[in-house]
Structure formats: structure tokens, C-alpha cells
Symmetry: C2
Subunit: 685 residues, 2 copies
């Protein structure tokens, strides 16, 4: 009867309707994407529906995704990290980064990724030098120089068994999971080999100005800041010959490429439109000065990738730049340590390192937990954070080595005035502070004038200041044969740099004798005073009570062996003997023993190093003209905690005991004197 | 012919196959979600496919989503901000937050959201006091106290025209766009009114220990940290009677609720299983001590919401807590200013405020751009960041008012020792620093013992220290009739708090006379010295040259009018006259003029305030026994910049000129004396 049949009929009808709708949806979706760029609609089909991104199925959980980036020099190495952070923040798949780098970038990024220890991220390096010959014949006017052009040779440069890769410029930022981008490979027809987003400016339409003659392109052309490359097909299709032919032919009539690889990619595509799979505009929102990107992002409910395709980068002028700047800052200032997140349920992740295992076994209730934790923490290290020129090789040259955190930044200018030679400085900063530091240096004529100061950022992690780990980073990066091991709250005599090099030569340090040159340390308790320009002036101030020998009031043992009385009269270097708690500031060969990283926070960190020098039979020679002066400052948080907390003192005592056990293990009976010396009471330096 | 027909036939077959697959996919998806929690599978159907979340279509771009949160007290007000940040980070829709708060939370969150100015976010407050009677009859043992129970009465408390709302606990964190959660409303059958995730522990199975008798629940029961409420249907279904009946009946046999509202929700659902729509487990990943959540997140390739449903919060012990902590820290330390992002293409967004418009019009090339920018910046303000007890009303009580940034944190303990009275402190911090500050206070017995110190966090933004804006925040939050306007690098005499209250009473300050009491300022250039316990001792140190009158060496004008010579002998308060550049530290009634916010960074910020006091005819009375002493510290970045940069000085001059123009506008001829006084040369204080 009807009542019964109606629902059935109705159901069937509805079902059919649903099916047709779904079918339509899918076909329509494909078309739209296919058509996107060609019909000049820069939206690339970004309706609301794209937002839930049901077009392609995402790649299976744990599938490895490949990304290639060309990166050269100090600044690009800094920029690319923001890209990497944004990618890691949203990613849920294992990643393999293929980095084409020059020597500088490789040195920086190898150290960074090695210390970053992000699970499920592999990094391979490829030498840009080797690729240069393949592109250096192309005249090019773009700010990316030769390096931009290297994107053309990736199919040959990357491993032959690598079938697909996402190629990114260093100036893009992700706002979504890169797996969604990878999923777009599924849209490629068998003929398509390159996925690109349409160029969001009128550049390739030509006539932007009189005699503006861009390279040939389809309509607005495509932007190569984000590329999906089907490497296997490109190789089979003879890509190398293809782009070389096109490029050389165009270069008969055009003087040079204006936009590097992008001009050539577009010229090739103009010739072979079938090669390109246009991608939705949201995968490369371009923020150059005259961008048309707003047509893309104001319609789309979602942005996937932002591209700062202007030499001005964040200073580019466009209506919504504030919005995009904020988005970029999110990852620029993002604490990279937080990206050390494992991918749950993905196999083949590297086993945790020794430190991590030890860390996991620590007892949070242990009174010295903070110390143990800090000692085991592996800090992310970004060496030569700013452009730096290695000093020319000079046999007796000395690098000033020290470390600091944000609250001592003000010392840098004064230090530069007092020390005209090379410096290697470790800075203990958060990611956000590193950016403030960058702006601080840019704003300072004194600092930005110096190319011989190397700044190494060690990223903050943990409750205590890892002073000796920082010193070791700065020490390891010193490039001269000798180093002056100083602290940031000291200013050396103006003449020290020159006089040290003279002394090193005269004494034949390193070569003939194994010695540490002691630079006598003084302090002023006044925070305004005029720095003595000679030993005579210094002695006068000393007699006037305006200066004191360092920590004369609360810890004379620390420098007593320097024998200040003898120093007053001394005209030649004189030898002194080690004594308990001695912690002078010394000049030593670069290959000197490292600092003991177990000493974190305040206390005994230098003392232990001098013990090590003595144990290795370094002579201690005090220099008659050299001096350095400590300036007053509010006590650091660490020293305040030390003064207020008995636990802190107890833990430090425990560290000292362990240190001495290790000493006797290394040096046997010879180390006995340090143990006995320790018996005498005395608060740690 | 065949060759022609085959493809067609093939195509048709493929098409049909596709359609069936799709159909299957959609139906399956729905089923799975529907079945999820009931069949005891805590995954709630989280296969790979859930990742691209194609089940429901996301809500249309720009649709307004509603969220309700119950929040009370200082700590929850701090925690909820992390939740809000995570929600705002991923959201792409306008949001309306419905906050049920006590007086404390409302005060804090009203100020916060007012100063946060996030586009496309509306906030409504509902008074928890009014709702208490409806739930206070229920005996409850859960740490959330009465407030947890208030989730039960939301259908009645929220506006009657509000049909759907997402209810969240303050201890959840989003890892995805809340619109995806909102989209799950689409799965509700007409009977279903509550969406919940299964409880990820065995609590409701009972027998966790001897005599463990939980409230009744379906299987493992549901967790109420994340709730989808179909308010309109709940109201129609007579929800109020429903839960009250069940609760009172259960309370006949059970002593009290152990898990607050959650016990009652589960009891009701046990009775009416049809009411609940089980949600996928990833929408409420529960991290209590004995959680079974791993079964959820190790299979799912994506997490949507994390729930710290343990009183231990981040200290909870479970295998992957590090991972979740990192995720939580991401938003705890996230710079909230970056969330002031507009939603492109959504109508009805509030027009930018006067400041924003002015900011937009600033010329980045203007030499004083940084000053202008800083003056116009509206800072996010989080008042009473830590638990605080308002001081009891005392007619002559004084609050010490000052401001600081991270580099002066060490001063706080000393300040607490010197000032036993109430304090109102503005701290200029980043979001990350605010968390360090929290840990710093928790670690300090001195600081955590004080309930009468109110800490107000003003979030960093811009290049210059907004000193007067900070002072105004601290001043506005002072709750005593009088305030002592100090700076963080000063320590007051131990007796000052008591002696001030005595003087205020004797002089009948405020009531009979309008006066500012001057506290003479001194300084030590030594950073180690013993603080004088009396005027006599102070004078002795002064004569010994261990102390000086404040800035005697480089800027005597700043305090000359205090007349230190007279002060030596003085035994009674004496009146002094204003003079150019005078900037004493004063005690005034709370309703005194505010500081001029145009003075940012270093220079003239206090001077202008004293001028204002004089212009409003405050008597200046110097107190004979009172004193405060400045401790030395490394110069701040701002003062260093001032000394080094002529532009900085020029801009400051410009500010001073504008200030005087405004003065004459306000006070007419009377203001003339300030202008003429300015003619005399003198570097700014």
C-alpha cells in the first residue's frame, strides 16, 4: 500500500540525489583546480568547501614526506628556520629535508638540526658549489642570485630514487599541515609533472612600465616559491635538456632572467602547458608590494602558505601586512624546543639519546633535580647567528671568548670599544629574545660595524644558567690559535688585545711552552667611573680606593695567587702556583681543556677549569701590563638563589665531590693535592 | 563497435563503483561516530580517515560560534587564558564567549578582553553568585567545588534565544579549529541533546578500590570537560527537572558527587541513553593519572582537544606527559598580541578604535615614529595575575605603587622586607616571562607569603618602555586611600610604611589639605652596603660619603627643591616650592592626577607628573624622618639609547613641548611659569 511504498520511493530518490551531488562535487572540484590559474582566476577554486579539504585523501599516517630547500649564507640560514618551525608545528608526518647549501649555511644548519633533535625529521645536505656550474651560465638579476636558479637542477641533484618532492623558498611560512599540500600530488594527471600556484601580480602581463619586457608565461604565469615536483617523470621527460633549450633560446632576445628560476619555469610551461598542475592560490599567498593576493585570501576561509616574495620581506607595504607579520612572528618567536614532539604510533623513530634516557630516569623529588636536569639538557645551538667574517690567519691572534644572556646586552658596545680583535660570544636566549637581539645589533652602529664578532645563540631551556656549556660553545667556535677566556661583566684594558699578541709571540706560547697567561682582575663598586688607560692610572685608582682587586671584599682566595703586590712592581711576566679556589682570567691556546659542563648556575665553574689546566701542567704566567676590570651590576638571579638557598649550596657541594672523583680517576695520585686543598673551608667562587 | 563501447561501459562501471564507495564512506562514518562510546571503544572511530574530517561540512565562513565557560578565582582566570589562546589560534569563525564568573574572575577577564581587542570575539559575563542557589544543595567532593556543578544550569542561565553552545572546562587546550567541533552538532539526531566524549578511565566501572562506589553511568561513562549542548531542545525536554530528579534520587543512597556535574550528567544519561551523541575521543583527550587516552591518540593521526583533568594539571604522571606539556606551553607562552588578527571577509567586525586608526596613519619614516607608536599602543593588561587579598579598609593606609620588568625581579624580595604594607606593582612582561615570574614567586618563601601584594601584568609590545602607562595601571589598582609613588630600584626606610600612615593622620592629608608628602631620596653607588635603620645612621653614611643625595652627581636639579640641608635639621614637615625639573618621590591620595602616558622610555616621565600636581595646587610637604635609597644597577637599555642617540633627545624635546602646550590649554596663564622655567637649559630627568 502507498503508505508503505512512499518512504521507500522517497528514500531511493534521496539516495540518488545524494549520489549525484557527491559525484558533481568531486568532478567539479577537480575541474576547478585544473582550470584555476589558466582562466585567470587567482582563487584557484577556493570556495568554502576547500576548507574541509575533502578533495584529496590525506597521505596515510606516518608516510614520509620530502621537502627540498636551497639555502645559502647567514641570513637565509636564519630565515629558513622560521619556515621549518611553521612546517614542524603543523606536520603530522615524518619529514625528510633535502637542503642545498653553501658552506656557511651547512655549517650552521648541521649544528642546529644536530642539537635540535626533532623526532621523525631527517636532513640531507647537498653542496651548492657542485651545482653552480650547471646554472652559472645564466645571466640573472634577481636578489636570490645563483641560488634561486638551482631549483632547476633539483631533479638531477636529488637522489635518483626520489620520486616526488615539495620545493620551498626560504621565505615561505606554513599555516597548515604540509601533508595537505603533499596530497595534491594525487591531482596530477600522468602528463603533469610540476604543481604551481598562479603568480599573484601582473608582472608577466608586461607593460608595468615603459619597455617592461618580462619572460614569456601563460597569462599571469606561475610563482615558484612553492613547487610540487614529480621528479621521476621530469627525469623521464628529459627536463634537463628541456629547460636548458628554452632558457638559451629566450636569452638570445632577453638580456637576463629577472626572477631567476621562475622566469625559466614559466617559459618552459608556456611552451608545454600540459606539464603544469595549477594549485589552489591559498598554497602560495604572495605578499609582494603590488600583490593581488587579497582576491585569494578574502574569499578563502583558510590560508595554507604565506610567501614573503619581496626583497623587503616583512617591511613590504600592503593593506594587510600587519596580519601576515603577526602570523610570521608567531613562528619566528616560537620556542623551537617545543617542537621536539614525537609522532605517536609512527614506527622507526630513532631511540632517545643517552641524555634523554638519563633525563627520563631523573627523580623529580631529588633535591638536586634541577641541577641534574640542566646538566643533561641538550640545547639547540645556532652558531654565527649574524653575518660574520672569519679573521685572517695570524699566528699569534687572540679571540675574546665569553657568554651572556639578555640582561647583559648593554655590555656589548663597551666590550667592542675595549676589544678591537675577534670575539666569539655565546648568547643564552629564547627564540623571541634572539629576534630582539637581532634588532639590537642592527640598531647599533658600533655593533653592526664589526664583522669579526661571532654571535652563537644557545636556546634557553631549563631553570639554571648553563654557564660552562655556553663557554664551551663559544670556545669551540673561536678561530684564532689563542683565546682570552673572559666574563661579560669585565672590560679589558684598551691595550690588552695588542699587548696579548705581543706577549704570546715573545713567550713563544703554545709552541715551546704550555702556559696560561693570567690577566689580573680588578673591580669597581661604583657604576660610574672613568676607565684607566694605563697600569699607572689603574694603580692610582687602586690607591685612591676607587678600584679594588677583584672580589677583594668577599672572596680574596679567588685571585690571591695572582699576587697583586708583586704585580704592582712587576715588569716581566712571572710564574705563580695554583692554589685552592684560584680562578684567574687566562689566555690559552684554543685547544685547551673544555669547561666542565656539570657546573650550571652559579659557583665553581671557572675554578674547576683552572684545576684542569693545572692538572694538565699548564704554567700560570701573570702578565705585568695586562688588566681587566669588573663593572658592578645587580646580582644575577642565580647568585641570589645561591645566597638564599641551602639546597643550592648542598647540590653544588655534591657536584664538587663528583668532580674530584673524576679528577683522581683521570690523574691518579697527581690529583690528590686538589682533594686535600678542598678540605680547607671556603665558600665556592 | 566494441572498441567504442568498452570505454563507456568501463567508465560507467567505475563511476558506479566510485558512487558506492563514497556512499559507504559517508554512512560508515556516521555509524561509527554514533556507536563509538557505547560499544566501549574509546577511539570513537578514529581511523586515518577522520583526519581530513570529511564527515560534517564545516560551518559556513563567518558563522558565529558560541562557547560557555565557568571560571572563578585568580588561578582559573589565569588558566582559562591558555584555553582561549589555543582556541583563538586555530579559529576562523567569529566567537561569542559566555563566561560564568565570580567577582574576581570577572574583574580580571573584563579588563583583559577589553585591552586585548581581538577582532570578531564577543564576551558576555554571567554572575556565578546568582546561580549558586540552584546547585549549592548538592553535596560535592570535587576540586572544582560548586563551580563545576554550574554547567548543569547553563540552559537556564544563558540567553533563551541561544540554541547551541560548546561548554568547556578551563583546563582544556585546543589543537585544532573549534569549528570542526561545532560541526559535530550536525550529527545529532532530533532526540540527541548532549554531545560528549567517553570517559578515558575506569572510574565509572567501579571497584578501583575497596568500597569504591561511583555514580551510575553507561559503561565507562562520559567526561564533561567538553560538552556540546543543544540548549533549545534541552529546555523543551525539561532538563532542569530531569537532572534535579535524578540527582536527588541518587543522593538518597550516595553521600555526595565525587566528580561534580560529571556524576550527574552520567546518571541522567544512564537513565535516558537517547539524549547523548557520543563524540570522537580526540575531542577530549584526558590526561588524568590513570588515563586510557593512549588508546585514542596513538591510533588517531590527529589530536583536537587536550584535557588536563587532574588536580595536578601539568604535573600529572603519564607516559607522554612531556609531549602534552610542550603542547600546552606553546599556548601558555604564546604572545597573545599576535592573536589580534582580523578575519578576512567577515562582515560586522568592529571598526578599529581611535588608537588603531592613529597607529595606521603613523609615518614609519618619522624620526620619532617609535615614540608615537609606543604612545598609541594599547597593552593587554592582566590585573591581579596572582592570588591577592584586598587590604582591610584603614583610613590612612598607603599602598606602594611601582612598575618593573623582568630584569628587576630580584628587587621584589628586598622590597617586601622593606615595605610590610600593601603594594600594587605593574610588571611589563611577555607571555613567556609572565610564566617565569609565576615560578619565581612560587619558589620564593618571602613573596609567596605575601597576600597583600597585587601583581598586574602588562604585556610587552613595542620598542620603548611605557613607564607612565605602567604607573597608571598600578595606580588605578591601588585599593588604599593613599599611595606612595616609587620606582623599583629604590628601597624605602624600614620604618617608612608606619611613619607615613602616622604623618597622613597627623597632617589630615586628603581631608583638610591637598598635599603631596615628599620622601627624600638618596643613592648609593656601591652595590654592597648596609641599609641605614634610622635618619641618624643615614646622615652618618652621608657624611662618610657612602651615600649621596639622589643623582647628586649628574642631575642635582631633580631633587634640589627638597632642600637636603634643611632636611638634616628638620623635625617637622616643611613646605617647599616647585621648581623646574623637580621629581621627588611623593605620597598622595589615590585620586591624584594620572601620569602622562605620552612619556615613554627614559626621560621626564616623573617631572611631568609633579608639574601636574603643582598645577593642581598640591602643597609639597617634605617629611623629616622619611627617606628612600636608590640602589645601583647596570643602566637600562632605554637610558643607554638616550645617552647615545641625539634623535632620542630630539623626540623627547618634542614631547615636552606638546606637554606644555596642553598645560597652557588646561591651566591657561597659570601654566606660564612651567613654560618659562623650561627655557632654562637642562638635560631631562
Amino acid at each position: 500500500m502507498l503508505p508503505r511504498r512512499r518512504p521507500r520511493a522517497l528514500g531511493a530518490a534521496l539516495l540518488l540525489l545524494l549520489l549525484l551531488l557527491l559525484l558533481g562535487f568531486f568532478l567539479f572540484d577537480g575541474r576547478l583546480r585544473g582550470a584555476a590559474a589558466l582562466d585567470g582566476d587567482p582563487l584557484g577554486g577556493q570556495g568554502g568547501h576547500n576548507r574541509s579539504d575533502c578533495g584529496p585523501q590525506l597521505p596515510p599516517k606516518c608516510e614520509l614526506l620530502h621537502v627540498a630547500i636551497v639555502c645559502a649564507g647567514h641570513n637565509s640560514s636564519r630565515e629558513v628556520i622560521t619556515l621549518v618551525k611553521s612546517m614542524l608545528f603543523y606536520r603530522k608526518n615524518p619529514l625528510h629535508l633535502h637542503l642545498v647549501t653553501d658552506a656557511v649555511a651547512r655549517n650552521i644548519l648541521e649544528t642546529l638540526f644536530h642539537t635540535w633533535m626533532v623526532p621523525a625529521v631527517r636532513v640531507s645536505f647537498y653542496d651548492a658549489e657542485e651545482l653552480k656550474p650547471q646554472v652559472s651560465w645564466i645571466p640573472n638579476k634577481h636578489y636570490s642570485g645563483l641560488y634561486g636558479l638551482m631549483k632547476l637542477v633539483l631533479p638531477g641533484a636529488l637522489p635518483p630514487d626520489l620520486a616526488r618532492v615539495i620545493v620551498l623558498d626560504t621565505d615561505v611560512t606554513f599555516a597548515s599541515d604540509i601533508a595537505e599540500l603533499w596530497a595534491l600530488f594525487a591531482h596530477f594527471s600522468d602528463k603533469q609533472v610540476i604543481g604551481l600556484v598562479e603568480n599573484q601580480s601582473d608582472w608577466y602581463l608586461g607593460n608595468l612600465w615603459k619597455n617592461h619586457r618580462p619572460w614569456p608565461a601563460l597569462g599571469r604565469g606561475f610563482n615558484t616559491g612553492v613547487i610540487l615536483l614529480q621528479l621521476d617523470r621530469l627525469r623521464r621527460a628529459g627536463w634537463e635538456q628541456m629547460w636548458r633549450l628554452t632558457a638559451s633560446r629566450e636569452l638570445l632576445t632577453l638580456p637576463a632572467t629577472s626572477l631567476a628560476d621562475q622566469d625559466i619555469f614559466n617559459a618552459v610551461i608556456k611552451e608545454h602547458p600540459g606539464l603544469v598542475q595549477p594549485l589552489p592560490c591559498i598554497w602560495n599567498v604572495q605578499l609582494s608590494d603590488h600583490t593581488l593576493a587579497e582576491r585569494c585570501y578574502s574569499e578563502a576561509s583558510d590560508l595554507k602558505v604565506i610567501h614573503w616574495n619581496s626583497p623587503k620581506k616583512l617591511r613590504v607595504k600592503n593593506k594587510h601586512v600587519e596580519f601576515f607579520r603577526n602570523f610570521y612572528l608567531t613562528f619566528m618567536e616560537y620556542d623551537g624546543n617545543l617542537l621536539r614532539r614525537e609522532l605517536f604510533g609512527c614506527p622507526g623513530q630513532p631511540l632517545p639519546g643517552a641524555e634523554q634516557r638519563a633525563l627520563a630516569q631523573l627523580d623529580e623529588e631529588d633535591a638536586c633535580f634541577e641541577f641534574r636536569q640542566q646538566q643533561l639538557t641538550v640545547h639547540r645551538v645556532h652558531i654565527t647567528f649574524l653575518p660574520h667574517e672569519p679573521p685572517p690567519h695570524r699566528p699569534h691572534d687572540v679571540t675574546l671568548v665569553t657568554q651572556l644572556s639578555m640582561d647583559r646586552l648593554q655590555m656589548l658596545e663597551a666590550l667592542c670599544r675595549h676589544w678591537p680583535g675577534p670575539m666569539s660570544l655565546a648568547l643564552y636566549l629564547t627564540d623571541a629574545e634572539a629576534q630582539q637581539f637581532l634588532r639590537f645589533v642592527e640598531a647599533s652602529p658600533v655593533l653592526s660595524a664589526r664583522q669579526d664578532v661571532a654571535y652563537h645563540v644557545v636556546y634557553r631551556e631549563g631553570p639554571l644558567y648553563p654557564i660552562n656549556q655556553l663557554r664551551n660553545v663559544a670556545l669551540a667556535q673561536a678561530l684564532t690559535p689563542y683565546v682570552f677566556l673572559s666574563d661579560i661583566d669585565f672590560l679589558p684594558a684598551y691595550s690588552l688585545y695588542d699587548s696579548l699578541r705581543a706577549s704570546i709571540e715573545q713567550l713563544g706560547l703554545g709552541g715551546r711552552r704550555k702556559a696560561a697567561l693570567v690577566v689580573p682582575a680588578f673591580e669597581t663598586l661604583h657604576y660610574r667611573f672613568s676607565f684607566p688607560t694605563s697600569k699607572a692610572e689603574l694603580l692610582a685608582l687602586l690607591d685612591a680606593g676607587a678600584l679594588h682587586t677583584f672580589r677583594y671584599h668577599e672572596w680574596p682566595r679567588g685571585h690571591a695567587p695572582t699576587d697583586y703586590t708583586r704585580w704592582r712592581e712587576a715588569e716581566a711576566p712571572y710564574r705563580v702556583q695554583w692554589a685552592a679556589d684560584y680562578e684567574p682570567y687566562v689566555v690559552v691556546p684554543r685547544d685547551c681543556p673544555r669547561y666542565d659542563p656539570r657546573f650550571v648556575g652559579f659557583g665553581w665553574n671557572k675554578v674547576a677549569h683552572i684545576v684542569e689546566l693545572d692538572a694538565q701542567e699548564y704554567e700560570l704566567l701573570v702578565l705585568p701590563e695586562a688588566f681587566t676590570i669588573h663593572l658592578p651590576h645587580a646580582p644575577s638571579l642565580d647568585i641570589s638563589r645561591f645566597r638564599s638557598s641551602p639546597t643550592y649550596r648542598d647540590c653544588l657541594q655534591a657536584l664538587k665531590d663528583e668532580f674530584h672523583q673524576d679528577l683522581s680517576r683521570h690523574y691518579g695520585a697527581a690529583a690528590l693535592k686538589y682533594l686535600t686543598a678542598l678540605q680547607q673551608p671556603g665558600s665556592p667562587a
